[in-house]
């Protein structure tokens, strides 16, 4: 029953979406009719139809012979239009919103049908929906929106690329940069020339009516259709969760081949107009490639540094922090496009450069905002792209030529496979970890074409060949997305390709990652070999001594990576604990191991510890309770500029919160405090405090909460901590102490603490 309801609700969603969209096309049709009628009545009157308005005009027409003042009196006697209908002036935003709404309803619908979304990747389903909608629109007779150059390259593509670039796993990317570059540059060049050449050969075949297609047009076609598309790759690879190496290889290739595509495209476009090609032109083409790619990266890096520098000063205006990230990145993209440089590489460079510094500077909420906005925009963009692809397929003028299309598909496949095999053979000579045959297969099979090829195809000026090219491009896109996209998941299962590691980053792995980095650098130095690690280490040191000082505000600039990782981990644990209530499990779930088990036991020493009198203890308790009270009061204030917390506080009842805090305090005191035998201040938490407090402290009535904690309170607490480990009062006291600190930590977590590490798509921070 539930299944039936669910299925019917998804169908309902789909139907509603389609109906909404078709209605939007009826309305303009209706409005245009009325507008004509109205124009027939009086001249130049803008505005939509309406019965009242029309009546008015007819009256005016009939009384045009009368005197003006009777006209005006006739006008005065009319009733005031209570309800009028004017569609035209909201037309554009209305339709845009409707399209986006349709796209999202489709997305919603697919996830409610579980079976289908397992077999068919989302991109295929969206294209099918696009085809349906396109078909309906064509049946109505309206003109469908087309995925043109401007719409695609300026509005739909940047969010996806920014999302990819901002959350790029930099470490994996840089480790494999050589391989990625070879695939992107040499691979795309090979593909372009092979496809272009072969298609020219095909066009020479007698009886195919293709003799008009010359070599340069074929090469242009080859350069358009040979580029692996990042949108399609992302859409498909996201769902199959293969290991990071393969993912970054294919994805990195799809990003970096943009430079090659841009250069080749403009090159062949120019040549086909000029007619002849000289050696100088070819040489200039090569120079152009370097200018385009390096220039794009330079633009991106400059804007990235600017963005990082700006974020240094935003500690008082946290609300607009995300906007800086978005706008600087978009400006980087557009600036690169002005000079015909590679906008995609510029955007990626901006995101990669900006991210480590911005994340150190911005608040936790801004980080979450950035993350969610990027995911949201890229999701909407992707959906719209695929739907528009379907619509444009139905709408566009087609010139179907069996020979051309079939051979295009075949040649593309063959060239991809040959290219990957050949290049891997070369690359494996230089790689430490070689690419196996399975890896090669996945890389070759994952070379999907997508909307970039389509939009570039739209720019071809020669209209006769344009239609044929577009048809072929669409066929290739459909083939790769449908056939390869649908079959890649079962193939991955069949070939038992290594999947992505699902485990979270543990502190041990982080320690050993850093240890290994230093170890390998040291060994390289001993060998006398300036290798990969040596340069990475040099860059890190440069980054630390010079760049971080300029771009990161306050004391965060000197924080080593291990410490910031540990802080993030702690923060995450705290948030997790409070958000999920007292049934939460900390990352070491099923174990009851605590610090007592790990600490070496020492013989109990006789120490002369000043014992605390009862009255002093009472005093301490009162102080602690008062602090708790004050903290909670402060959290109540709310204004758009303060951004203190918190609606969260209002939802949770007092008792539950207290219970949670007590629970967490107890657990935290086990896990993070060095227990009683040592004379140590629980200093771990100190590290968390300083940067965040600058935002948080607004009133000075409660000096205890600030960083300069009155030393005697602390000392007393720890000393009482040390007395015995077992006394009930002591445990309560320690619970209260950790209570406060954790409550502060929690409250700070909810106000403006530092960013927490991401789960899904982002990789490690740059090391």
């Amino acid at each position: 029953m539930a299944v039936f309801l669910r299925r019917s609700s998804s169908r309902a969603a789909v139907t509603i979406g389609v109906l909404l969209l078709t209605t939007s096309f009826f309305i303009p049709g209706a409005s245009s009719d009325n507008r004509d009628a109205a124009r027939g009545g009086s001249n130049g009157t803008r505005g939509g139809p309406g019965q009242v308005l029309q009546v008015e005009k007819e009256q005016r027409n009939s009384s045009v012979h009368q005197e003006t003042h009777t006209n005006s009196s006739a006008d005065h006697k009319k009733p005031f239009p209570v309800l009028s209908f004017n569609y035209d002036h909201v037309r554009t935003p209305f339709e845009i919103s409707l399209w986006i709404l349709l796209a999202l309803l489709m997305k919603l619908g697919f996830h409610i049908i579980p079976r289908v979304s397992h077999v068919v990747p989302e991109s295929c389903l969206l294209i099918v929906v696009g085809l349906l909608v396109g078909g309906i629109i064509k049946a109505i007779g309206e003109k469908a929106p087309v995925l043109g150059y401007e719409l695609f390259f300026f509005y739909l593509l940047p969010p996806i690329i920014l999302d990819a670039g901002y959350f790029l796993p930099t470490r994996h990317f840089m480790d494999n940069i050589g391989t990625i570059l070879v695939f992107a540059v040499v691979g795309t060049l090979w593909n372009a020339f092979f496809v272009g050449g072969m298609m020219y050969g095909v066009c020479q075949i007698e009886g195919a009516q293709l003799a008009t297609v010359d070599l340069l047009s074929c090469l242009l076609f080859g350069s358009i259709v040979s580029a692996v598309d990042p949108v399609a790759v992302l859409a498909v690879f996201e769902e199959i969760h293969i290991n990071e190496l393969l993912h970054i290889l294919v994805f990195g290739e799809s990003l970096l081949n943009d430079a090659v595509t841009v250069v080749l495209y403009h090159l062949f476009e120019e040549f086909s107009h000029a007619g002849t090609v000289t050696v100088v032109d070819a040489f200039l083409g090569v120079v152009c490639f370097f200018v385009v790619s390096l220039g794009g990266i330079l633009f991106g890096a400059i804007y990235g540094l600017l963005g990082a520098f700006t974020s240094r000063f935003t500690s008082h205006t946290r609300v607009i922090e995300p906007l800086f990230v978005f706008l600087y990145s978009y400006m980087a993209y557009l600036s690169a496009e002005v000079f015909h440089l590679s906008g995609i590489m510029s955007l990626i460079a901006c995101g990669v450069v900006m991210r480590p510094y911005v994340e150190a500077n911005i608040s936790h909420k801004s980080y979450t905002t950035i993350k969610y906005f990027l995911k949201m925009w890229s999701s909407v963009s992707e959906t719209l792209i695929f739907i528009f692809l379907g619509v444009s397929t139905v709408a566009g003028p087609h010139a179907w030529n069996w020979t051309f299309v079939v051979f295009t598909v075949l040649v593309c496949l063959v060239s991809r496979v040959l290219g990957v095999i050949g290049l891997t053979f070369l690359i494996n000579k230089f790689r430490i970890v070689k690419l196996t045959k399975k890896d090669q297969f996945i890389v070759a099979y994952g070379g999907l074409r997508g909307a970039i090829a389509f939009s570039l195809g739209f720019l071809v000026t020669d209209s006769q060949m344009k239609n044929m090219f577009l048809t072929a491009i669409i066929t290739v896109i459909f083939f790769t997305v449908f056939v390869q996209g649908m079959t890649i998941r079962p193939l991955v299962e069949l070939l038992a390709v290594k999947k992505k590691k699902e485990s979270k980053r543990s502190i041990n792995e982080e320690i050993h990652t850093q240890f290994l980095d230093h170890l390998l650098t040291g060994i390289e130095d001993i060998c006398g070999h300036y290798g990969h690690h040596h340069w990475k280490d040099k860059m890190n040191r440069f980054n630390k001594t010079y760049v971080k000082r300029w771009l990161i505000a306050g004391e965060r600039s000197t924080e080593p990576q291990l410490i910031s990782f540990y802080n993030k981990l702690e923060m995450k644990q705290a948030i997790m604990q409070v958000e999920s209530g007292s049934s939460a499990k900390l990352p070491t779930p099923e174990s009851s191991v605590s610090m007592q088990n790990v600490q070496p036991k020492e013989p109990v020493r006789q120490r002369a510890i000043p014992s605390i009198s009862k009255s002093r203890e009472q005093e301490i308790r009162k102080m602690l309770r008062a602090n708790l009270q004050k903290t909670r009061q402060r959290l109540r204030s709310y204004s758009r500029h303060d951004l203190l917390i918190e609606p969260f506080e209002d939802h949770v009842s007092e008792a539950r919160l207290r219970k949670q805090r007590a629970e967490m305090g107890r657990r935290m005191s086990h896990y993070l405090t060095v227990p009683a035998n040592r004379q140590e201040v629980p200093s771990v938490r100190k590290v968390c405090f300083e940067p965040e407090h600058q935002v948080f402290t607004y009133d000075t009535e409660c000096p205890n909460i600030q960083t300069s904690r009155p030393p005697d309170t602390v000392r007393l607490l720890t000393e009482s901590h040390q007395r015995t480990n077992q006394s009930a009062e002591l445990q309560e006291l320690s619970a209260k102490e950790t209570d406060i600190e954790d409550q502060q930590k929690v409250s700070r977590c909810f106000s403006d603490p530092g960013p927490k590490s991401d789960q899904d798509r982002d990789g490690s921070s740059t090391s």
Binding site: D525, I526, G528, Y566, S591
Partner: protein, 216 residues
């Protein structure tokens, strides 16, 4: 480059190549470097290592240097430290950083991984009792953070404690409050870094190229 190619395959090279898996060119290059570091003497001492300028800013240089003089890394089932090493020991220690060959079976790959992890374990376990105690682990983290001054020292303790806790939870799971976790044994260490893919990460590129002219 020309001088190197005309070197005949000396008999001791053959023996070394068999033992460590390096090729003759790689052994010749490393021998040249060895001679450069030891100032043409037969053995290397700790002072020779300390004179490498790039190594001076490495936070764990002491441990790296000690690893060369640690008999456990010579594959001879011996323990203890030595004062000076010959070329053979130098090469054996270096061989821990060779990448696994392309055509290895799963079992051989497993052996390579165990060997590399054993090297790391020996680096941490300085008193050679077979376990990495909390103190030793703290020392490791402190060294890693040694460039951050006083702030690093206290946090290092916290980090090492949390890490140790994690190891205990992963390896032993459930412990009574009065049980005691002695330290990380080698089996626990293997289990801990199982997903670390060390055989692909702990590698140096020993190219067949004469690199001794590039740096001191």
């Amino acid at each position: 480059m020309g001088a190197l190619q005309s070197l005949p395959a000396q008999p001791e090279y053959i023996d070394l190549a068999q033992k460590t898996g390096f090729s003759f060119e790689q052994i010749a290059i490393l021998h040249k470097r060895f001679k450069q570091l030891s100032r043409d003497e037969e053995t290397l001492r700790r002072e020779n290592f300390s004179q490498i300028p790039d190594l001076a800013c490495n936070p764990i240089r002491t441990q790296i240097i000690e690893a060369f003089f640690d008999k456990r890394n010579y594959h001879q089932n011996d323990v203890g430290m030595v004062e000076e090493i010959g070329f053979k020991e130098f090469l054996v220690v270096m061989s821990h950083f060779r990448p696994p060959s392309h055509r290895m079976t799963e079992e051989q790959r497993e052996n390579v991984r165990t060997e590399k992890l054993r090297f790391l374990f020996n680096m941490h376990d300085t008193d050679n009792d077979g376990t990495i105690t909390l103190e030793e682990y703290r020392h490791v983290v402190e060294e890693l953070l040694s460039r951050s001054g006083a702030l690093g020292k206290e946090t290092a303790k916290g980090i090492a404690d949390a890490a140790m806790l994690e190891v205990a939870s992963i390896s032993v799971g459930h412990m009574e409050p009065d049980e005691f976790y002695e330290g990380i044994t080698f089996e626990h260490f293997l289990k801990l870094l199982k997903g670390f893919e060390i055989e692909s990460r702990m590698n140096i590129r020993f190219l067949n190229m004469d690199t001794s002219t590039l740096c001191k």
